[in-house]
Symmetry: C2
Subunit: 354 residues, 2 copies
DNA sequence: CTGTTAGCGCATTCAT
DNA sequence: ATGAATGCGCTAACAG
């Protein structure tokens, strides 16, 4: 029926062991035999049996990339970059040599699915796991994650965090690439303050997420440094990281405080919704209200007016995570690296009107 | 060292076969023994060895989803929807029962990687493969794909096409869900013609892609029906499916024919670039030039003015593909279904000025 | 409903 | 540099 390594061996007139050796290429084999084997492989159209080889070798070539929302370019860009580094260019032969198989898993941001995917990956004896994006801060879930990651690490799986802060017990993670969300958030609000804004609404992401908290803390640090305290709670509305949520939250913000002169959104997508709400209210951006986002996704430069935001090097970070996961790159000292966030001032923010 | 099914069996005082049966849940087991086994599993913190079980069962629970560009929400939405149907909600136990593992593979739109991933999936004995988005029309590649898909199908892998036209030899695909790109393209241009436009530029996608060709054909059908022929080539510029390409192509279009009153883009992302180019030229949308896109991605309603486009039910199509891949839903008659595309008229198109 | 028996296809010792 | 033998951990008949 299905052609096996033994069939190839028979046709090439060598032992199965030899075929295995040329296929894995990690053992000396005479050039002539190698060639003979390769020809037999092509003739028979042989494809290695992954499960069998993983079983025998006790490791697989799967690398899992966990994302919170695959439909969000924030994750898509990181995952795509990581996959580029991992997947290799493919040699076009369709023969598929020793490549790793980068697979992205969509957790939907839920704790259950995050753990389930990790278990599934553990079951597959994944070679590495890359966790992208913010973590959930629920203590029980954090403990479960730490335990699970420790088990994965024990089994030889490389664990890499990309855009996620290190674990309390960072021992089981090879490398954590954390974005400077707090610094970025702070600089963004400082920019607004320097423009003269004093009443600033904040559309935050979901609670119990590291990304949400860090960006918000950066914002409040700046506000505090500017002497603006006391109104934090009233001028903050939490929502999810989507456009609709940004719209609704902004409507609520405007209801609570019509004198707002600027709205800072948890990310660019949310900012899009915020901007729509402001326009629907008959207000202009930035003349009446300034709007700012975070991430600098590709579309942000194209909206009108172009969005002031904080640029995160998503592609570079994802690529680096991919290299870390494949062992192509050495982990940073201490296993932790902070990735800078750069303020991008564009047309959506301006001085408040007098 | 690592705990195996035999360890669980020993602790639960049953045979390995029984443990296997409760874990796979596809065979009658007494409630009391099941419970005992499950407890042993939890006590020992046992995780099934995927490769071993795949080897023994000659099939795995992996389902591959191939996408051309994971950073593009067009694919992200479909892949996410498919994964939702496939992955199951997870039971929160982290135990991971009989779920399928939906994995998305980013081909980058290149023929080589498409084939490589298919081989990798074949090697893993994937339960199903979902190919999303347009196909590459190069004859050699098409033949290679057909052959590869036939082999996969032979090996018992379900092959589902989502947003991709059926193969010439559709026998090996379980179901092909094709978008009505031609009809959508036609209706979009008809809309423009009915508004009074006569000189319409077209920013097409990459050549040799079914999506590109079908949308362009729809456009030209409408133009022809309106008696506008002869200028097709001059008023068409090909590029890739990204924002930058839309910008550049539109600059070129405007250079070739400054009298253009409308620009139709290959998709919404390209339309964003086109709009930027038009604005940078000092022209207004839609007063000076109308702009239209395709897909109706989430951001399209938020750009200013809101984008006239053709809505594709990406989420629904992806979900259906997921159900097809898992066998939850019966394939359409003949294995082929055409998915309607709906014209969405918004602010970015208007009658040309006189 | 449960236990026994055989492999699944390959990577690795160990020889040679 | 190559071959022979062993077992990875599990599922699937087949009994009972």
């Amino acid at each position: 029926m299905t052609v096996t390594l033994a069939d190839v061996a028979a046709r090439a007139r060598v032992s199965p062991a030899t075929v295995s050796r040329v296929l894995n290429g990690n053992y000396p084999v005479a050039a002539s035999t190698r060639e003979r084997v390769l020809r037999a492989v092509d003739d028979l159209d042989y494809v290695l049996n992954g499960p069998a080889s993983s079983l025998a070798a006790a490791t697989s070539d799967l690398i899992g990339i966990l994302v919170n929302d695959i439909a969000d370019p924030f994750f898509g860009i990181m995952a795509g970059a990581a996959q580029t580094e991992i997947g290799g260019p493919g040699d076009g032969s369709g023969r598929a040599g020793g490549e790793k198989l980068a697979i992205v898993c969509n957790t939907g941001g839920t704790p259950e699915r995050e753990l389930t995917y990790l278990t599934l990956l553990q079951r597959q004896r994944a070679a590495a796991v890359v966790l992208t994006g913010g973590a959930i801060e629920d203590p029980a879930h954090q403990a479960a994650m730490s335990a699970k990651l420790a088990k994965l690490a024990d089994a030889g799986t490389r664990v890499v965090l990309c855009g996620r802060p290190p674990l309390p017990d960072n021992a089981s993670v090879l490398a954590a690439l954390a974005f400077d969300n707090r610094g970025g958030g702070r600089r963004l609000t400082e920019h607004l303050l320097s423009l003269g804004h004093r009443t600033i609404g904040y559309v935050a992401g979901p609670v119990e997420r590291t990304t949400t908290r860090h960006r918000l803390e950066g914002h409040r640090d700046a506000m505090k440094a500017g002497g603006l305290v006391g109104d934090e709670e009233r001028l903050t509305v939490h929502g999810s990281y989507d456009r609709r949520s940004g719209y609704d939250a902004t409507v609520e913000l405007l209801r609570r405080e019509p004198e707002i002169t600027a709205v800072v959104a948890a990310n660019d997508t949310v900012a899009l919704g915020a901007a729509a709400a402001i326009r629907d209210r008959g207000l202009r951006i930035p003349e009446d209200i300034s709007v700012a986002g975070f991430d600098d996704l590709p579309f942000s430069v194209d909206v009108v007016p172009a969005l002031t935001t904080v640029r995160l090097p998503l592609f570079e970070a994802g690529a680096r995570a991919g290299r870390l996961a494949t062992g192509k790159e050495a982990p940073p000292p201490g296993g932790i690296a902070t990735i800078a966030a750069e303020l991008m001032v564009r047309g959506s923010t301006a001085a408040p009107r007098e």
